[in-house]
Amino acid sequence: MAEPFDVRIEVLAAEGRVLPAFAWIGWRWISRNPIAAAVPILLPFFFLFFLRLIAPPEYFPLQVAGAMLFTIQNIGSWCLSDSAYWRIEQRLQDLFVASPLGKIRYLFGVAFSNLIPAAPALVVLAVLLAWVTPVTLAGWAVLLAALVVLWILFSAIGIAISSRLRSQREVWPVGNLIFTLLGILSPLYYPITILPDAWQGAARFLPATYAALLVQGALGLRPAGLEEIALDAALLLGSALLGIVLALALYQWRER
């Protein structure tokens, strides 16, 4: 005998089949809006072009790796924007809250959907990175792990903040403030050692700083021993975990 519909839908939701559905939403968004696909690819290259002109050329491989981290960090800003749009303007969140979909799956769904537009940029930047500096298999693995940690962390931060916004007007300034500040404070595009001491101290409170240090160390873009790399990895995981816990505490899962 066939299972009742409500039982089947509960099982489907628990199996995580909604995640590809969200990824499909991300694909449809860029396939219907070619500019929306092009912008996430172009933005890191605009920055790299600017930095290539003003910075010493030896920093370029570090800046390409930094652009990958910055791109993944930006997904948080898009998650903020998307979830605010769906909740405030489209009232779609009401539907999701009433469904068996939990808030964590919704978070990952929105994060997946926003990973799709960023993926081409990450692939192109990875090719560029391999072109400008030799990258070992272990280097790729560390880079991938850092990207995954930042993706989860910043998506959680984006959605958590979005859940507290009351109007679409707040999306741009709040997203701009948080993600621009986080992006500039962490040494993604330059070695941390060239920053003033106070700035270095402030940057040490941010997970993206440890992601940058870890990746730079693993790729040989700064001198770092195994112990230092392991410490950066531990600090990245610890600070990201703390950030995710705080984000989940802030995250409101409710109708309207």
Binding site: A36, V39, L43, F50, L53, I54, P56, E170, I184
Partner: protein, 248 residues
């Protein structure tokens, strides 16, 4: 519609817009973040270009006022549908556009002016130099406001606007020589850079400020391009405001 311009309601809408923007303190206080980031990049990576980047930041701030106008005009039209109310009132369409643009300029003037003491600190300038910088900053504001207003009328939802707005502001702010001297680009592309409103304004300001002298021909090209764009786009904006008011 009569051929002559009708300005009824301009002052009222200007003050409405100023009040509206001043109440949006978060947006106002975050409006210089991107410029600040680029200036910080320059300060960290190429400190000798700091004065240049600060002058460029003023031109870019003026350009971003147009982006704010784009968002505001789209928000009023798409989310609030207030434009229908305004267009049904005695206020003329050109008053709606010019009032909004001027209100934005008044509210967001601090995002330009904040760089004045910084420039004065690292590279002191006289009244004549400041006069020229003020003129080019105003020309950039006219260009970006008209562009922002016209673009805002082309979309049906707020979400679709974001990539276009982002592309425009980055393409005209980060890529051309606004935060770095035009001399860092190959000579072949100088003409193109001098035709872009933001980099034309920066090239003129940097020349007058003695930060990067350019040839007389280059200066004339930048001045002519920026002036022409400002005048033409102002009339395009007014024409477009009338046209979109008829369609509202």
């Amino acid at each position: 519609m009569a051929f002559g311009l009708r300005w009824s309601g301009t002052a009222a809408f200007l003050f409405t817009e100023v009040r509206l923007q001043i109440h949006d303190l978060l947006a106002l206080s975050t409006a210089t973040l991107v410029q600040a980031v680029l200036v910080v990049f320059v300060a960290v990576l190429a400190p000798d270009l700091l004065a240049f980047a600060l002058v460029g930041a003023m031109a870019y701030s003026a350009f971003l006022i147009g982006q704010r106008l784009l968002n505001e005009a789209a928000y009023l039209r798409i989310d609030q549908r207030l434009n229908e109310l305004y267009h049904a009132s005695p206020m003329s369409p050109e008053a709606y556009f010019v009032g909004m643009a001027t209100g934005m300029l008044v509210a967001y003037a601090p995002t330009v002016l904040v760089f004045v003491p910084l420039v004065q600190l690292v590279h002191p300038l006289g009244p004549l130099e400041w006069g020229v910088i003020a003129a080019v900053v105003l020309a950039v504001w006219v260009v970006s406001s008209a562009l922002g207003y016209v673009i805002s009328t082309l979309f049906k939802d707020m979400k679709t606007i974001w990539p276009y707005s982002s592309l425009l502001t980055n393409l005209l702010g980060i890529v051309p020589p606004v935060f770095y001297p035009i001399g860092l680009l190959p000579a072949d592309v100088h003409v193109i850079a001098l035709l872009v409103p933001t980099s034309a304004a920066t090239a003129i300001a940097a020349h007058v400020a003695g930060l990067e002298p350019i040839s007389g021909d280059a200066l004339a090209l930048a001045g002519a391009a920026l002036s022409l764009q400002a005048v033409v786009l102002l009339f395009v904006g007014i024409y477009w405001a009338r046209r979109s008011a008829r369609e509202a």
